[in-house]
Assembly symmetry: C2
Homo-oligomer: 141 residues x 2
């Protein structure tokens, strides 16, 4: 199935460390390393009274964590285009840092290219694809 | 159906203005206004040779746009928790600015709370919910 990007949607329940800016930042940095993607920007915002939002913009798309400690819940999105590794490799990072009791995972192909009017290469499993431009940042806003 | 957040996933094809930093920024700002959410941070990154990634962090979660002009394609995610308006209200903004020939929309409930061990209020359609904490930023990183 040819697609521009892969989007992994994680629902994590029964988690630890959900009100920690440090853990959210570590999770994003460790996922970036696990996926071998190119970090452009990383932001973490704590909320009042509890909760954290963390965002990593990478050349290959983005990673986001939102936490709701009052529910033991975290929502994580991993969207990659042309990443050298399987995006599900990031899941072990989340298991280690948040110790969820259970995880739901859904994967969506983004930019499905199996349409007659498109004649492009699908992303190769192990390397950047011709379908994904080199995401060299020309500018950081 | 009780859930912490609503996540709208848009697949837009046959779009215009996909290589414009200004259009991506305008789309994010107009969606923030359309949804009446609280903007914490907005970043737009142009890529070489073409394409843009734009990200708005809001108190109610996040908005992201990734564009691939070479395919006429944009991937947009709208994730809100406790937003006062229906997240699909943002779709008209995207139609106006990117003029897509076709749009695919999927909505996912994030943090589904219909589980026996959780006794919380579902987000109300027209106002912030008790299930969503007030996302007053305690800090901007």
């Amino acid at each position: 199935m040819k697609a521009i990007g892969r989007h992994i949607i994680l629902e994590m329940w029964g988690c630890q460390n959900l009100d920690s800016v440090e853990t959210a930042e570590q999770a994003l940095r460790d996922m970036v390393a696990a996926l071998d993607v190119n970090l452009l920007d990383l932001r973490v915002y704590p909320f009042s009274p509890v909760g954290v939002t963390g965002m990593a913009i990478v050349s290959e798309s983005h990673l986001v964590i939102h936490t709701w400690p009052e529910h033991g819940y975290a929502a994580v999105d991993i969207f990659t285009c042309g990443a050298p590794r399987d995006p599900q490799a990031a899941v072990q990072v989340l298991r280690d840092l948040f110790q969820p009791e259970r995880i739901g995972v859904m994967e969506i192909n983004r930019g499905q290219l199996d349409l007659p009017e498109y004649e492009v290469e699908a992303p190769r499993p192990r390397g950047p694809s011709a379908a994904c431009r080199t995401r060299a940042p020309a500018y950081s806003g």
